[in-house]
Symmetry: C2
Subunit: 330 residues, 2 copies
């Protein structure tokens, strides 16, 4: 797999890269952004990663994580190129309108490196050049970064390997999702050969739950509603408050709800604010939940998708059940 020549050219010719990713960044977002930063270091380029702060505790072990700056303090002056990794529309970068406005005014070149299905909503930008490398067939943006490093003849250091291995296992659910291909396992093998430590990285990403998070998980299980082949649960704002947890503590919860043999689709509703709910969907096999997410203005992949909705839990639940019925999935 080769990245677009225009993208490689810009990376070779320009200097001073601003690297950004989506809101509530996950292992693929952090791992891809940091691996890219290390590649740019090898090329002798200046770069800076900005994300939402604080970094979730499970990603604090990542090599280079301390270089990340707070997106709230973003200053776009002096950057020639903006690189979006693991997202493909500026509007995914922040919920803060001021930050989005600032990004819309960015006049340099913009590169997009992502494996999500393309967000076709308007791309409002003052940029003079936009290069997209979007491959929704790939399991993780980390895989694209891997090929980018090969194309630019970079070296897969232990630090890069750790970041890319993290990107891969977070987006494949540690090799459990449908996107776990021979290619994914082959790249993972190479990353381990050069120093990535599978069980250590797994423990950091997936076995570093706080007792608070564990309580939240128990609450979710107790609320589980099984309507075969669908499993639904709901975490309210008061659940988050009672357990002193945040949205990032729910990572992997929705996958767990798929564990039952009579369940093919799991849905987790999280109340971020009253009447503002984030919905995560997971499915098994050939069931495509990204169709549903897109009907609600969201996105994702066949087996893992999500959307946001302005409604109560009850309202959002009914609207999801209606869509599931429409697609003959319930």
């Amino acid at each position: 797999l080769n990245p677009p020549e225009s993208l490689v050219k810009i990376l070779r010719e320009e200097n001073n890269f601003l690297i950004l990713t989506h809101t509530t960044p996950d292992g693929d977002a952090f791992g891809s952004a940091l691996a890219l930063k290390f590649l740019l270091d090898q090329l002798g380029k200046k770069s800076q990663v900005y994300t939402e702060i604080p970094v979730p505790s499970q990603y604090k072990f990542l090599s280079g994580i301390d270089y990340i700056r707070d997106l709230k303090e973003l200053n776009i002056d002096g950057f020639n190129v903006l690189i979006l990794v693991d997202c493909n529309n500026l509007r995914r970068i922040s919920y803060d309108k001021n930050i989005i406005d600032k990004l819309h005014s960015f006049k340099g070149k913009i590169l997009i490196i992502d494996h999500h299905i393309e967000d076709k909503s308007s791309f409002n930008s003052a940029s003079k050049e936009l290069v997209k490398w979007i491959d929704s067939e790939k399991a993780a943006t980390g895989i694209l970064i891997y090929y980018l490093i090969k194309s630019l003849e970079g070296r897969i250091t232990k630090e890069i390997a750790t970041n890319l291995y993290t990107a891969i296992i977070v987006d494949t659910g540690n090799f459990q999702f449908d996107n776990t291909t021979e290619e994914v396992l082959s790249i993972a093998t190479e990353l381990v050969r050069v120093g990535a430590k599978p069980s250590y990285i797994y423990q950091q990403c997936f076995e570093s739950w706080s007792e608070k998070r564990f309580k939240l998980f128990t609450i979710m299980l107790n609320k589980l509603e099984i309507l075969p082949p669908v499993a639904i649960s709901f975490i309210s704002k008061s659940d988050f408050q009672a357990t002193e947890t945040t949205e990032s503590d729910t990572e992997r919860f929705v996958e767990f709800l798929r564990i039952l043999n009579n369940v093919n689709i799991s849905a987790l509703f999280r109340e971020i604010e009253p009447s503002f709910i984030k919905v995560s969907l997971r499915s098994k096999g050939e069931i495509d939940v990204s169709l549903i997410a897109r009907d609600f203005g969201g996105g994702g992949h066949k087996n893992a998708a999500g959307y946001r909705i302005n409604d109560t839990f009850e309202g959002a639940r009914m609207r999801l059940l209606e869509r599931l019925t429409y697609y003959k999935l319930l």
Copy 2:
């Protein structure tokens, strides 16, 4: 890696192989036994696998599973060679004294192919030749079978690949344990290349919980006792009865208890009969729980071990805490 020449010689020269494994067989036991059977088929040899019946529902998808016969109906007559896979002492094959006595009287050759630490207790046998291939450095017995197939120039068919992939993911916790090496990932890559389907096999092995099993899991979580860095839970015989579940339904439960960031050791006590308890231990990183299991007459690996004890839960719990204190792990 090459198997002992004497073992390869016996496989080439003899006919009529009896393949057995340990009690409560898991994915490595079934996967290794069946892959070995398919290899013997390729060599034009007769063979038969006997295990405890019924096969747990999560392994019913395995290619060749229907060839397995009930260990209760074992008849050793006519077999020239007994092959033990995934266990290395006859006493691990059954709890039934009649079956063990029958095996002790077996006069043919015995081959042992296993990755567990060797059980050094006396090997009571009428066998005229015993060949052991025990490599406790390997993640799964399936890895040894893989090398055996290579040595005998067998073909890794899709059926064999599915069985070996199952063996590997069950014993590495789907590539999460410390035994997940470059070798493991490299072999997994080859198995996927020839037809093993990662997400399908994962779902069969790990996401096929019955609602009853799910209830048992919730009961276990509600009883969880966290004594950092140790997490302990207990499933009583009445819990099994109330949920209509059996011991095999607890597979993977103890690994889940390791999910907390302040927990390095998890222990699950399962009451099989009043005052007969099976204990599973799991640890993170360099903590070796097989030492403790061996002190109680059990066995296993550094991060995954177990033992049986004639005691109440309270008694067994105290004795474990005493041992943990002795090893300065608590």
